[in-house]
Symmetry: C2
Subunit: 427 residues, 2 copies
């Protein structure tokens, strides 16, 4: 079965909004062992929507549509689909009830009358309840009288806060149901190893399970590894081998980021965390506080962008700054000591480096970063040379810093913390 995606909205083509819906659905579908064969973005115009539907219904079997279900005049997905199929729109009483109730719960006064247009659905369609907004989703299984009998369409609202949960919990099961055979899958997050190295290390596992389908996706902080098979036992056995092969690099099944994993480990041990950031400038703190509940273990941090702040708030001695410079293992080490004094936390991370584009010298080039981590009695300062833009250097520094702490919390040696670290002699 082939899946197609149609994302409707001027904003996607005008660059006002980056289309994250395609990526979200793509990643979730991959967990079910498939991915879209074609995706289209078109403006909010009836003829463009119908033209796109024709293309996708011809090329694929299950079309996922996002956007254009709202109450305003540029929301024309439902009339366009109805016209394309030659079906009429009717007002669903069930949808009217859901919209009225949801509106009441938002306490924004009287329901604007035009909001009820969101209850108009094509004849023969099934409603998909929307638990995060007023516009319901719509599912259509095409019959003998329709232009593409046997094919399916699912329409979802465009805002990711509504589409993501609707897709995950309501639409993805419809896609899985429509698959020819049942598929089993599992998703692993592997931190601190590059994609090509993950591929190499997977070769023996792939050789052991010829019917296993494997896919990789590289992100700054980890590689996602998807395995899929029609056989539940294959998934179970292959998962066991993967867990052994990547024992120290695998995140827990429940977590979705290294920051989340670190917070989980800190909670388990009743440890606390503080941060001293120079070149990452608050990025690590931002990643940590993006996780709900971070306040249970994260007390705070200092962004020490200037030497004066390093000296005054983190007690980095002036002799260190003068003799070794702010970008040095000595400074990263002293920042750790300062953190202990300032926050009294059990664990801490310090980062100092040159993110670029300016500020590099032959001795200390752009991309040179020192990362210090302490965890209870243990501490480590590493020297790294990251390639890439200012943003990439900052993102990689943050990823390695958090993964180093993860490894220390787990009691692993730091060879699995990521990138090539040169352990610095303690000053």
């Amino acid at each position: 079965m082939k899946v197609g995606v149609l994302c409707i909205g001027d904003e996607l083509l005008k660059g006002a909004v980056i289309n994250t819906n395609l990526g979200h659905m793509g990643a979730k579908l991959l967990e079910a062992g498939i991915y879209p064969q074609m995706a289209l973005e078109v403006p909010d115009r009836s003829e463009d929507v119908i033209r796109a539907l024709k293309i996708l219904m011809k090329e694929t079997d299950f079309v996922l549509v996002s956007g254009g279900l709202g109450p305003t005049s540029d929301d024309l997905t439902k009339p366009a689909v109805a016209e394309f199929l030659g079906r009429k729109l009717f007002r669903s009483e069930e949808a009217v009830k859901a919209i009225t109730e949801r509106w009441a719960s938002m306490k924004r006064g009287e329901l604007p009358l035009h909001f009820l247009s969101q209850a108009d659905i094509p004849e023969g369609a099934e409603l998909i309840p929307n638990h995060y907004g007023t516009a319901p989703g719509i599912f259509l299984q095409l019959g003998e009288k329709d232009p593409f009998p046997g094919k399916r369409i699912a329409m979802m609202p465009g805002p990711p806060s509504e589409l993501n949960p609707m897709f995950d919990l309501q639409v993805l099961p419809l896609v899985k149901n429509a698959l020819d055979g049942k598929l089993f899958s599992f998703l692993f997050h592997i931190a601190g190893v590059g994609e090509s190295r993950v591929e190499e290390r997977m070769q023996k596992i792939i050789a052991a399970f010829p019917a296993l389908s494997v896919a990789y996706c590289a992100a700054p902080e980890f590689v996602k590894l998807f395995i899929t098979s029609a056989n539940a036992e294959t998934i179970q056995k292959a998962s066991g081998m993967i867990r052994r092969e990547f024992e120290k690099e695998l995140l827990s099944d429940e977590t979705k980021s290294v920051a989340e994993e670190v917070l989980l480990l800190l909670k388990e041990k009743a440890f606390t965390l503080s941060l001293a950031e120079s070149c990452t400038g608050g990025l690590i703190s931002q990643l940590v506080t993006n996780v709900p509940g971070a306040s249970e273990v994260y007390s705070g941090g200092i962004v020490c962008y200037s030497n004066e702040v390093k000296n005054r708030l983190l007690c980095v001695e002036e002799t260190i700054l003068r003799e070794h410079g702010a970008v040095s293992s000595q400074c990263a080490g002293a920042m750790l000591e300062g953190l202990k004094k300032a926050f009294g936390s059990t664990c801490g991370i310090s980062v100092t480096g040159i993110a670029g584009p300016g500020g590099g010298t032959p001795e200390k080039p752009v991309g040179l970063v020192y990362i210090g981590v302490f965890c209870g009695e243990n501490s480590h300062v590493g020297r790294y040379l990251f390639r890439g833009s200012r943003e990439q250097v900052r993102a990689r520094s943050a990823a390695v810093a958090l993964n180093t702490l993860r490894c220390m919390l787990k009691g692993y040696d730091l060879s699995c913390a990521g990138s090539i670290a040169f352990t610095c002699p303690r000053s």
Copy 2:
């Protein structure tokens, strides 16, 4: 003339990479008064690329292609285009020279032989030099013997670090050249005003210039306003009216974010900045340090996630925390005073609030945020109630905080700082 976009790559459909190339090109095209009429994403498979090219060449006049120009076996854009057009690929000596030179400058050892496949281009094509990578871009104007005479194709490498500058400086001029008439345009960034209010206030300007084309794009921190016209004088006159109408809300023409504008104003005045972040958890610091050269005016900040850190590092008195709580105007005000002591900066921002999803009470619901700003002798603490997810509450808090400082640096009253602020009585 209609523009189409084709983005090639498994990673886009598998959710490993979000397609930012479409958004980048869309926003830039809008500055020229146009936007894509259709965009497609397809996997790295020859038949899919050819099918997509057929669709786009039929529906549009100028097709922008991203991805699949690299040296590996899944880079098949050029063979697919050549097959589609019935042209042969030949090895361009000019391209071989450029690739060899670029590789040598990267100092990574000997050039891998398969890299030279990047120099293979379809007969009759023009090279577009790549200043940020090895794979050159390719431009084709279709002739009488081709399947779609008169139409145009521009192929660009997929990585945004290579595509963005190539599109802006080399491909966008080709698109503008192909437009039927010359178009003039201007882009404004308006901070602190919602999109619908910008639209309302634009009505009299639109009425004064019936031939002016206007487009809006809303981002968390500002609304982008594009104006386009075939008449240079119309743009000039309308720009003057817009500058008067949005005098206090417009960012400078040179800046692209409120953080950048704030840093520019601080540099002009030789002021310095420090930050005390609770619920934004380092996000404002991250936005500020994302701008190259931030270190000239930004000394640092404290992420004070716990009450203890607010007390210890920012000297927020325990009586304030006990009697008013950490989420209070009193605490935000005391955090400002603490910042002055800790950093001795000329300007400072404090943020304390409840980002959610947990932690809300009937008196202090999720979304309640206090933002304090001082700028020289002036200071202000505002109370805000932001809607949305944890991420949205944090992003809006950061946007309003930075825009409040911008207004204070400009000497504007704070009614243009954004959202509805309730100025808090000083404790």
